[in-house]
Amino acid sequence: MSVLPFLAVTFGSAFAALLLRRWTFAATVVGLIGLAAATLAALAIGGGTLAIGGGTIGGSAYGRLFLFLGTASGFVVTLIALGTGRPRDLPAALLAGLGATGLAISLGDPTTAVAATIVAGSAGILISLAPGSTGRGIGVAARELRAIAVAGALVLLATSWIGRSIPALAEDPAIVGLAYVAIAIGVAMRFGAIPFHLWVARVADAAPDVALPLLTMWIPAGLAIVGLAWVDRAILPLVQVVGDLPLERTVVVAIGLACLVLGAIAAWIQDDIEHVVGYATVQDAGVVLLAIAALDPAVWTAARTWIVVLVVARTALAAWAAAIRARFGSRRIDDLSGWARRSPVLLLGLLAIAGASIGLPGLVAFEARATIIRSAVGGPLGTIVLVAVFLPLLYYGRLLAVGLAQPTAATAAIADDRPRRPPEALARSTFRLVLAVNRGLLVGVLVLLLAATALTTSAGGFGLTSAAAEDAPIASPGPSTGPAASATPSPAASPAGSPTAP
């Protein structure tokens, strides 16, 4: 089946949930049903390509996996949001954002695909504000809108410019370099990579914690997938003609390395667990930027593998942070002393998340990241940079140390993970009441489910490696017609241009 049913379900459900937003419960129910249906529709996505209105929409195993994990994670995150008290507009935004992202990674025309990522970003604005936001929070959301527009415009311009025939571009290497940097910077902006990282902290402050996965992970990941495919299809073949863009690559490598090292350190020194989530995502985004910097077809599979691992693992971390905030009533790490002793389920969840995001040599995620780093940096420096992938041990270690410390009086007063019955006086209570008294445990179990998914993905489960190695539906630039055509290998014919050629 094509991707169209998925798009119909996501956009239709999002629209219905938004129409019902005045009635939060009804909107949430409609959204949950929509997310469940979208998960099924994602599973049914096949490999065919449809020609519609002068363009094409193609399904792929990678798109199927990405959208399946996105909608399924979204469903679980919405349930967690119900348990932590902030569900408004979340399912609608998830559906619209993932629908637009699904459209973007399925389109054949890169310019249209980038435009679809702007639509996804706009959907994210709907959940960028916590209920009762002040002017400051709205200012953060306004800056988010600005970042979406500027990043989208940069990448749109780049894809439009390089969308012409290769011979025309081969005459002007500077344009190719500028377009390449524009794509990299657009992706960096959307992920909040250093030096665009300040908004990540602001978004983490202003947005509900359960909104972070969509805002800072899934939607930017859509742009990264499109950008990566376009670099592979359009820039890589041109590199053989205009040179390997050393200056431009150095800039992108510098941004990637800064994220990889400073992102982890920033996450380590933060006092707010939502800031930890934000900067941890920035660190992982550094690897994506290094993949763009590599300009090497050998990183194609690794980069797409890493993007999926990134979004799933960081979604689990954001859900863990939301569960902690709801359970212990604070986002400050200093206030959470002894959290792990009170909630072993959340402790297991954090351990699984740490395992998924750091990985071990031999695991698919670890090898993918190592391949990208070696290809982008190379030499002894590459080996040194590879050590930086263990820097997350700093912030995970801090969280664990705080969690295993002696509980404070406030933490000790929080109910532990043991299942509870409603009070005797309410013995004939409803199922809803049973859920209410065990809410903390149930949210913890859901976080554990997300963490287990992340660990499975990190190990290469769900057929990730073979899906990531697939060709992207994005088409190559226009046909060669000029005199330089003979000197310019077709991306499809060239081993360097073939995304699947290692």
Binding site: D109, V119, I138, A141, I148, A149
Partner: protein
């Protein structure tokens, strides 16, 4: 050069100038609507009727959604600190540059007028995006920027297909919806004029603003208020 396209391009650029320079809600939204609708016709050959219809409806919806939120208020934006003549000159200069450079690069498949209007929109959008302090200017700047780049793409790649027109229309609706949502949230939070990124205005700004002929002064005067007297 196609005279009809040139007129449409000038209308697109003029609408953008009005949008970023005006302080009156009605005028600012009118300028934005004019730009978005007219930009749909800036292609040669024109898109087919259905695609064109989708773009026009999307353009109107993108303006109407935020308009619903603020239509009862006389002013929602401080307008341009530079004044409309400067904005118009900036747009005109960018228009000429865009038109003049359209033929320099081989491979462009669309009209030079689209690139001229696109350059003008991008130039006019820079001010609101970089210095905009109120929601309307930020949102409108973002919409104009994306639309401007889209027009450059029309000039380089030719008339968009039906699917691309639908997605472009969705972009406009998406950005318009986001702007409407933020304006609504600002109103609920009691943020006057959606001024969410307020920073001290230079003293000369008040003088420049008061000389703005597009301003009607029908809204609540901010001169001498705590925020403006900084």
């Amino acid at each position: 050069m196609n005279p009809a396209l040139a007129v449409v391009a000038i209308v697109v650029a003029s609408g953008a100038v009005v949008c970023v320079a005006a302080r009156t809600t009605r005028l600012a939204f009118g300028g934005l609507a004019l730009t978005l609708v007219a930009a749909s016709f800036l292609a040669e050959p024109l898109p087919d009727g259905l695609a064109l219809g989708v773009r026009v409806v999307a353009a109107m919806l993108a303006v109407y959604l935020p308009w619903i939120v603020v239509r009862d208020r006389a002013t929602i934006t401080r307008g341009s600190l530079l004044g409309w003549p400067v904005e118009a000159l900036v747009a005109a200069a960018a228009f000429v540059i865009g038109f003049g450079t359209a033929g320099l690069e081989p491979g462009g498949l669309g009209p030079a007028e689209a690139q001229a209007a696109g350059f003008a929109l991008v130039a006019v959008a820079v001010g609101p995006i970089v210095f905009g302090r109120d929601l309307f200017r930020l949102g409108a700047g973002g919409i104009l920027l994306v639309l401007g780049v889209g027009l450059v793409r029309v000039s380089l790649g030719g008339t968009p297909g039906g699917l691309e027109e639908v997605v472009t229309g969705s972009v406009l609706i998406g950005l318009g919806t986001a702007l409407a949502f933020l304006l609504s949230s600002a109103a609920a939070a009691g943020v006057a004029d959606g001024d969410v990124l307020a920073e001290p205005l230079p003293v000369a700004a008040a003088t420049i603003r008061d000389s703005d002929p597009l301003a009607t002064h029908s809204g609540p005067s901010r001169r001498g208020s705590g925020r403006d007297s900084r």
